[in-house]
Amino acid sequence: MTETPNPPTDDQTIDEVLADEPQNGPSISEDGERASALDPRRANMLAARRRPTVVVLAGAVGSGKTSIYAALYERLGKGPFAGWMFAGSQTIPGLEQRCHWWRIESERNVPRMEHTRSESLPWLHIRIRDVERKLSAKDLLMGDFDGEVFQDVLHGRAKAEDLKYLRRADHVGVVIDGAKVADPTGRANERQQTQYLLDGLLAPGALASPKALSLIISKMDLVEDLKASERSDVEVWLEDLNRFANARTGLSVPLMRLAVRSESSRFPLGHGLETFLEVLSLRPALKIGQEAEVYQSVTSIGRFSA
């Protein structure tokens, strides 16, 4: 039987919540090599110093969670974009490692992303700043967790309220695998799995607020490659799923469409990330017990230009 955690209180600091997490590894690995990401202790230190925006992407193994983080770093490595510039990172080795299979140094012919393992250190960090430098830098602390964790939640084998980092997260993006959505035979199951996951995440005490929630469809290029009639079916499917999320939360849940590392040249590296950053910046960091602003898009969310 899993122990039910105490619900967070209004005066509980983010550090206290993160400190509840199990310590699952030192910053220096057993072979003495440098750790590539932050363990909860170091994530806490960062949280105490810089008050980061905490992001957790939830989705099945292979849905594209790690690729979103990696693409953000890789895209910034080409120069500023969407009005943001790179301002630093305490996990550059981890981000480099995650980008490796996308690069020719991996000696591969097609880009792939390595599966995040449960024993991997989970927290990645990127600091960004507006290119006009009118605002102070924004720290993003991004949880890169093994998709098995979320599969356990949607199957009812684990409770989301036991994953305390979810309650600390200012943004929880439910990642829907666009490859499965593009496949008519995989679509129904993907919807069901996503609905189970949403139900799990919206259990009392799991999230700081349902306003933290977003829907993200990855690999959207595969959907865009479909025939017009099939694309139309997917649009209906997405609207249906979005309605489900809106009904469960009583809110308008943002839906983002990403194709961050497409094998088609029509979709440049990081496609859709401008929307991702927009959501992160327009919806301020939640403090536990504090309501976030209602999300209002300033651009057409995730729509591909013709």
Binding site: S27, I28, G32, E33, R34, A35, E74, L76, G77, K78, G79, P80, M85, F86, A87, G88, S89, Q90, I92, P93, E96, Q97, C99, H100, W101, W102, R103, I104, E105, S106, E107, R108, N109, V110, P111, R112, R127, R129, R133, A137, S262, E263, S264, S265, L269
Partner: protein, 279 residues
Amino acid sequence: MTDAMWNLLLVGLPESGKSTYLGALFHQLKDRSQDGLSLAEMPEDRDYLIELESDWLSLRPVRRSQHHGPKEIRIPLQEEEAQRSLELVVPDIIGEEYENAWEHGGWSSEIEVRISEADGILLFVRADDVHEAHLIDVTEKPRQEELSANTEPAPWEPSASPTQAKLCDLLEQVTEMRDGWLPPLTVIVSAWDAVASDGLAPEAWLDWKTPLLSQWLQAQSPDLTYRVFGISAQGGDIREEVVRTELAKNADSRPLPEGADSLTGPIRWLLSKTSTSVS
């Protein structure tokens, strides 16, 4: 007798031009006054500097790791306009230490002290040795036999990472070591002669070739004061015989390629930014 000590930290990966710069700078300051800056007196401990200078004058690659130098280099300087003398102190940190910090994280306690004491930083980026990240070209579809033969990717090697990632990480580590604050910093784009014909100013070149590093520097504003210099200590690519022969005609006064700054430029700029804080 000097009025003050001025601690400069030279940060750069192996063979990024740190030792070449020191050897050439020492020679030029000794030779004659350089834009209001000169050698106040011969350094007491000068064996190592003379070795570096000798390599430079002989048009040989100056590689610090081949020499056994002192723990720090001290060069007495005379600021002519301000009529003051100061001792430039450069700790002996070889490029391999920085490569090691990238691959493993952290520094020895001795280097930590040097980092925390620095009044200014010179960050070296070698223009003709920037390793960039190259994405797999998705527009070229591999043949089926290539796909099947290409299942095991080569493992990630930290040493093969892009130069900009390594340098950003080093700056992050130095900043953390100094409790989130950096002293005035100059970026020295060394071997500027190799890229002078591109027609870019050093700052624009840095934007182009190392955009992550360039953004990192810009994003620290206004907390960080920095400037980018293009420096050609050797005056040309001494691996090429034709160039060596040409440079040998006037080995102790090398030509300044288009857009290059003088060797003392970064030092004078750093002095102007730290003159009130040198103790």
